[in-house]
Amino acid sequence: MNFLFLNSIFLAGLAVLAVPVVLHFFYRGRRRKLKFSTLRFFMREDPQEMRRRKVRHLLLMAIRMLLMALIVLAFTRPFANNSNSNSNEMAVNSVIVIDASASMGSGLVNGAWKEGLSLLGKRIGSLKSGSSAALIRCGSPAEIVAHWDSPAHIVKALENLEPGYGSAPIASGLESALNLINQRSASANGQANTSEIHLFSDFQDQALREISRIIMPANIQLYFHPMDQSAVGNVSINAQFDDKSLPPKARAEIKNNSEKSVATSINFTIDGKTQKSLAVELEGRDRQWFDFPIDAGQVGWHTFTARLDIEDGVDFDNAVHGSFRIPAPIRIMCVSRTITKPNYDDPLFYLHLAINSNPDDSSGVVSPFIMEFASEAILVERLKNNLAHGIDLIIFPGHKGAIPGMSQLLVKYMESGGSMIFFAGPDIWASRQNEYLGDVLPAQFGNNRTADGYRIKATHISYYDREHPVFKLFKENDSGDLGHPVFTGWNELILPPDAIIPARFDNGIPLLVYRNSGLGKSAIFNTSVDDEWSDWPKRRTFLPVIQELALFMCDRAGEVSDWSYHVDEMVALASADPAGNQPQVYTSPDNKLIEKSANSDGFVNWQFGQPGFHTVRLGGDESAVVAVNTAPSESEWNFSKPDSLENLIARNDQSLENSDKSKTRQSGKLEIWKWLLAAGILLLVAEMLLSNRFAT
């Protein structure tokens, strides 16, 4: 056992012990002289008493010096390092937990990783014969690299370990270690072994988040082996894909996690081609944001990368990747006698504005919709000839009649996945529509009503389902109030049992009603497509509702366009072949191929272990490009000291079965500062008693 000090600098305080000695000799010959009239009233001391008094004074001085020494030593926080606890009497069960998070990668660059593993290896290699060891790689999740085996085997397993790119919650590593120890103790066959855990980590704060839930038995020794990151500087970059803005953009955040200022540059590429390069200067602990517009233009998969031109402690966060998919536009056929682009006084003007909201083709932005105008006859013709499969959505902007036989064609169309929206304005010939389109309409038409100012009042939208994909965006602040538009006309509707009504007027009449039909849907929008029955088309809430409705009807609502994930994040991708006959094929950034079949839910679960672009063939000809980055939390360059962890990890008094109960030290270190202070307090009491007694 050897004694060490946590705050050895306080040992300099022992110099204060010289002060009472110096004072003693200084004042010994320097008593003040005082001439007094007579000494007859002062007791004469006999020489023996004088000697006794001198001894007492020396004893008091010694007690005071010892008291000061104890206080100084207590400040140095000495501890008895039980480094050889396992070397003398008994065999040891030793679990090594290695933090393999991305931040530990700096150790590969500066050699601290190898050095740390080497020291651990020596430690394990010197275990008493009969000892066992196990190795856990702390990642997400923690992984047992080697079960209980001889120390030599574990040392060999240590040599091949390297940090990964993900996060590593220390708590899960310690939990795994405790489980291993418990299993070992349970099968100990009456042998009492000491159990210990060695933890090699940089003790990054974000990795310690759940450590307080660990309850460690009192007799398990816990050793911390820190990898020092204090001298390692780190600049990181991460980015978010913002598809809500127009055009979409990538917002990159650059953070300087070190104290020194840095100068670097960012290169931004789309699909491998450099778009922009910017010079950046950052003070210590500073951060800046940059927006990069993404003008990809083409339908399909696209990638972007923002890379820092810098060499720092770790490189996993010097580049951030993103991938996104621009889906093919929804093809809409608007049944209308007008086949040209409507002008502003045309009833279809507002619909055209809503669907084609990016009329300027020079923007380079792909509109999610392509709308064509066709007459009913052309529609019927195409439906008959099976040429409607390229049309995702048919919009009837409100018309009086219907061609006989069209209903069956529309039913077939919807069964194969097509959808339909019917705008029910004042032009609806209810009985005719019911007769000819009753099979496809989600509700039957009744009488229409128009507000007359006194008996029939104008109405407003009073209810809409905020969780419904069509209306979800109105949950956000400043997204508009659907209650503002005024409706002066509507149709009474006769609803079937399976009708779904996500919005109503305040008179109870549905605004929007739809039902599923085959693989598609049909919907009635119970208002005119123009401003005849409401002022809604002129309000800002009209456009997003129409667009969201169109997306919803074509099952495109909530379609993920951003395909960026973190390392070790579980990603479930829908299989093109849920039956599992055709597996998904995955290609890693380093061109490794893996095949996986779908689970019973029709999804394939992937966990990507390295940053970069990963390709997953979804089925058929389509391959998804998945961008994987290390979690931004790994770039948070804040670390804790091991001795502060002592207080975070709770200990209980329950010892492990069959473990050596006689050794109950924590962490292999016996901190004795408390004993020093207790001894100091006792000495203080003794000094007070003695000095009072000597005064009498």
Binding site: L34, K35, S37, T38, L39, R40, F42
Partner: protein
């Protein structure tokens, strides 16, 4: 020597004056200007003769029987009526040389004032200064020149203490011819029983004995703290003392000593008066004389 001190002489400044003559006269003038009658009356009961009454004589001594017989006024004269001998024995030993206001200085001034008072009322002061080597004495006498000699003795240069006060006390009483007043001015540190022996003998001889016990405030209060190497003013011995720790014991012993001296004086029938050396001269004197006037 200025015998005619101004009536408005500031008494509080007397402490600063080295001229003992001046102080003595001033104190006495002050006392007498307050119309204090001298309490030092002749107390002899031995009738000596008659004399004619002079206006101002004390009517107590008027012989009324003789007036009844003769129609003339006569006063009785006693043997010691106008020649009361007052012998002052002044302790000049080492312990008297102590105090922020030195006890010996105070004692000299006090002795001088007392002598002036005696002389003013035609009594015969005398003095013996013990402790500066051989005893310096001036026998009792009257007259202006005698007083001047006495004051000169008091205000003359002092030599360092050489002898102990107690050593020379024994022979003192044998030089006194007639009964009178013996005033002892001392701190009594140097004596144990010698002083009581002397006082007792003097009382037996018929003398009136007064002990003025002069003490320094530092001796009374012992206002010291810390470690000291204390030197005895008499013997020169040095003793290590922790004043803070010793104070209580010192005060106990000291007060015990004071009680012994006072009770010892009471036992032998002597007057005892304790005076601190930093007290105003006139106040100390006046207080005692007023006390004496009440008692007598």
């Amino acid at each position: 020597m200025n015998r005619h001190a101004p009536e408005d002489f500031p008494f509080q400044e007397i402490q600063l004056i080295e001229d003992i003559d001046l102080i003595s006269y001033t104190v006495v003038e002050g006392f007498l200007s307050g119309l204090h009658k001298s309490p030092f009356l002749g107390y002899s009961n031995e009738f000596a003769s008659y004399r004619h009454y002079i206006p101002g004589d004390n009517l107590r001594h008027m012989d009324w029987k003789l007036w009844g017989r003769t129609d003339k006024f006569y006063v009785r004269q006693f043997e010691d009526d106008t020649n009361l001998e007052c012998r002052i024995i002044l302790d000049a030993s080492g312990s008297m040389r102590f105090g922020e206001v030195e006890k010996f200085r105070f004692a000299r001034i006090f002795s001088g004032a007392l002598s002036c008072l005696m002389a003013r009322q035609n009594d015969a002061p005398g003095i013996s200064v013990i402790g500066m080597g051989p005893v310096r004495s001036l026998p009792c006498g009257t007259g202006f020149h005698h007083l001047e000699s006495l004051l000169l003795l008091l205000s003359g240069p002092t030599s360092p203490p050489q002898t102990a006060f107690s050593r020379n006390l024994a022979g003192i009483g044998e030089t006194f011819r007639r009964r009178g007043i013996v005033v002892l001015i001392s701190d009594c540190f140097d004596t144990d029983q010698e002083i009581f022996t002397l006082m007792k003998r003097l009382r037996i001889q018929g003398h009136e004995v007064i002990l003025f016990h002069i003490l320094a405030r530092e001796e009374m209060e012992f206002p010291y703290a810390g470690e000291f190497a204390m030197e005895d003013s008499e013997s020169g011995n040095v003793h290590q003392v922790n004043a803070t720790q010793f104070r209580k014991k010192y005060l106990k012993k000291f007060n015990q000593f004071l009680d012994e001296i006072e009770s010892g004086c009471q036992q032998v029938g002597a007057d005892y008066r304790r005076i601190l050396s930093d007290a105003p001269f006139d106040k100390a004197l006046i207080e005692y004389l007023e006390y004496r006037t009440r008692v007598r």
